[in-house]
């Protein structure tokens, strides 16, 4: 489902060049639930951004759903992000001015589907995270856990094949964190969604099928 071949990423400032990823090759199978672990600054987020096509590797090749990413221009990359990938962020990144329903609908705005169908799919996604009663609420009326559930609903509303979760439980207490993990488990088991999760939490990582460890921009066995 996701393949990186000899991926390299470095950042250059005026004086120094920092290597964030160094010759990383990785294969994540369809339906796999993988966690990425490693100390701060080891390149976890860079790897996630490259998998999510938010960042372009300096070298190497990326395949998403067996499709080689040839070009990173807006026109070719936006539809892949929209249809194949769903993002869950540590700090939720909900739009406070929009209701839960409108937040969840957001990815569907960039598809050619009717407003009625958008609403139906959004309500279905909200139902999956058990927030039906909160559909008309606004993010600041919800707890952290509920906000993250909204963010998950937003990530899955377009039925993407890949879910990328960047420390999804990082801002939550353990009870709420477990709720979120349960939802991710469910999506993995029942919907066969491929999930890649960055985490610092060993216990959460143990619940995934495979742990990828990074150190200084390189994979560690």
């Amino acid at each position: 489902m996701i393949r990186i071949e000899r991926g390299k990423k470095s950042y250059r400032t005026d004086t120094i060049q920092t290597t964030a990823l160094n010759d990383v090759s990785l294969h994540i199978k369809k339906g796999e639930f993988v966690s990425i672990m490693g100390p701060s600054g080891c390149g976890k987020s860079t790897l996630m951004n490259i998998i999510g096509l938010l960042d372009k590797p300096c070298e190497g090749q990326i395949y998403i759903d067996d499709q080689k990413i040839e070009s990173y221009n807006d026109k070719s990359i936006a539809p892949i992000r929209n249809e194949k990938i769903g993002f869950i962020f540590q700090s939720f990144h909900l739009i406070n001015d929009l209701s839960v329903l409108d937040n969840v609908e957001l990815p569907l705005l960039y598809r050619k589907i009717s407003a009625k169908e958008r609403r139906r799919l959004a309500l279905e996604a909200i139902d999956k995270v058990s927030l039906n009663a909160r559909a008309k609420h606004f993010p600041n009326q919800l707890s952290g856990g509920q906000q993250q559930r909204v963010a998950i609903a937003r990530a899955i509303v377009g039925k993407p094949k890949i879910l990328l979760a960047d420390e999804p439980t990082g801002n939550l207490d353990s009870a709420m964190g477990n709720e979120i993990m349960a939802i991710l488990d469910d999506l993995h088991k029942n919907d066969k969604t491929t999930i890649v999760m960055v985490t610092h939490d060993d216990e959460k990582a143990q619940r995934t099928e495979r742990i990828i460890r990074l150190f200084d921009g390189q994979l560690v066995n």
Binding site: G52, N82, G86, F87, H93, E105, Y110
Partner: protein, 414 residues
């Protein structure tokens, strides 16, 4: 999608009330001024009321005589002799009129001095200019030729001399002459200077006919074609007859210059007084457009800055939208639409302010007897201004924001 964008736009406007106030203030005040100026210019170029036939007539209001081309010259209004010799024999106009420029006369009522502007006209004047008669009638050809002491007066003059009672058939004494009032017309704006006056009397009501021999001074001419399309033919004929015209003292004054002008050309001549060359209408048009653009530029730049700060505050939203597949074009559309909504609200406020100001200016009498009107052309100008603001002040920030790197946007590090 549109519903969500509009909803979001309104929410954002409510969230940053000070920004919204500054933006709306800029837009509405600018629009108000532009509407006032446009309405004023429009009212002069395409006048309603008495000069409503302006698309069909040309005015001859200036002439110059010179010792040689480019030599020493005298420049003033045409005289009766010149106009009578040049425009009266013309064949292309349906109607021609010679009338005096306004002169101030005084009358008295209850010991109080009343100043009025008087014009002496022929009878054709009343056919070219479409005065709205409140009561009575204009003077006939016979009355004009015989120089009968009859007068048409404005509504305001009637009120000053006769209060609210009917002025018809009453005697009006101004400038030492008495006239019988035969008509009362609605007030005419001073900006419609071909028609504007307070009292109109027949050309020959004056005992002296010395003016008939004067080449220069004190008169104006109007020539009116049957249709607007025939105006250019009328202009050509005027120029031909002008070329053939000889000053009574041709040795001293071999060169006689004048021009027959449309309303717009009349305005252009106010700023470029050289009668030898054609009126600088193109330059005036460009001048008006450039002035308006410059006037709008400052608030637009201000709005661009406000919009950039406003959009940068929403970096996280931009990051999320990009992550979920929004293309730059989607984001540009969204932010442009938000800005157009803002400018439309400003537009409505500006429009209301303009109407209010027009009312107060009309009531205050700053421009005597002028009533502002908003017609289709003024409305079109208002809509263009709103779009100019909306697109320019929203377009650049939207474009800049759409190019944000989504990772930086999500981190809020722009």
């Amino acid at each position: 999608m549109l519903r969500v964008y509009i909803l979001l736009a309104l929410k954002v406007l409510q969230r940053r009330k000070f920004y919204t106030f500054i933006s709306l203030f800029c837009i509405s005040v600018t629009l108000m001024v532009i509407l006032l100026v446009t309405s004023l210019v429009e009212n002069i170029i395409h006048p309603p009321g008495a000069e409503r036939n302006s698309e069909r007539f040309l005015a001859i209001e200036k002439m110059a005589i010179s010792t040689s081309i480019g030599g020493r010259n005298q420049r003033t209004q045409p005289g009766y002799q010149f106009l009578n010799a040049v425009i009266k024999p013309m064949e292309t106009p349906e109607l021609t009129s010679i009338f005096s420029t306004r002169s101030q006369v005084a009358g008295f009522r209850n010991g109080k001095r009343i100043k009025s502007q008087l014009k002496r006209t022929d009878s054709q004047y009343w056919k070219i200019l479409q005065f709205d008669f409140i009561e009575g009638r204009p003077f006939s050809e016979a009355e004009a030729k015989q120089g009968q002491h009859v007068a048409v007066i404005s509504e305001d003059t009637a009120r000053q001399y006769f209060d609210d009672s009917s002025a018809l058939d009453k005697l009006l004494t101004v400038g030492g002459e008495s006239y019988q009032v035969i008509g009362v017309v609605e007030n005419v704006s001073v900006l419609h200077w071909n028609a504007s006056a307070d009292i109109w009397v027949p050309l020959f009501a004056n005992d002296s006919t010395a003016f008939t021999n004067q080449v220069m001074g004190g008169f104006m001419g109007l020539i009116m074609a049957e249709t607007p399309e025939q105006v250019s033919a009328m202009k050509s004929e005027f120029n031909k007859r002008l070329a053939a015209y000889k000053h009574p003292d041709p040795k001293r004054w071999p060169v006689v210059v004048s021009s027959a002008n449309t309303k717009f050309e009349q305005i252009a001549r106010l700023y470029h007084r050289d009668l030898d060359s054609p009126p600088k209408t193109k330059e005036l048009t460009i001048g008006i457009i450039v002035t308006m653009i410059l006037f709008m530029l400052l608030p637009t730049i201000n709005l661009i800055n406000l919009n950039i700060s406003r959009i940068l505050e929403r970096a996280s939203e931009i990051g999320v939208r990009k992550s979920f597949g929004a293309r730059s074009s989607h984001l540009i559309t969204q932010f442009l639409l938000e800005n157009i909504i803002l400018t439309c609200i400003g537009g409505v406020i500006g429009f209301a302010l303009a109407l209010l100001s027009m009312y107060f200016i009309s009531v205050s009498g700053v421009v005597p007897f002028h009533s502002f009107e908003i017609n289709f052309r003024v409305l079109a100008a208002a809509i263009s201004v709103i779009l100019f603001f909306g697109i320019l002040s929203g377009g650049y920030p939207a474009w800049k924001m759409s190019r944000m790197n989504p990772i930086n946007a999500l981190k809020g590090a722009i």
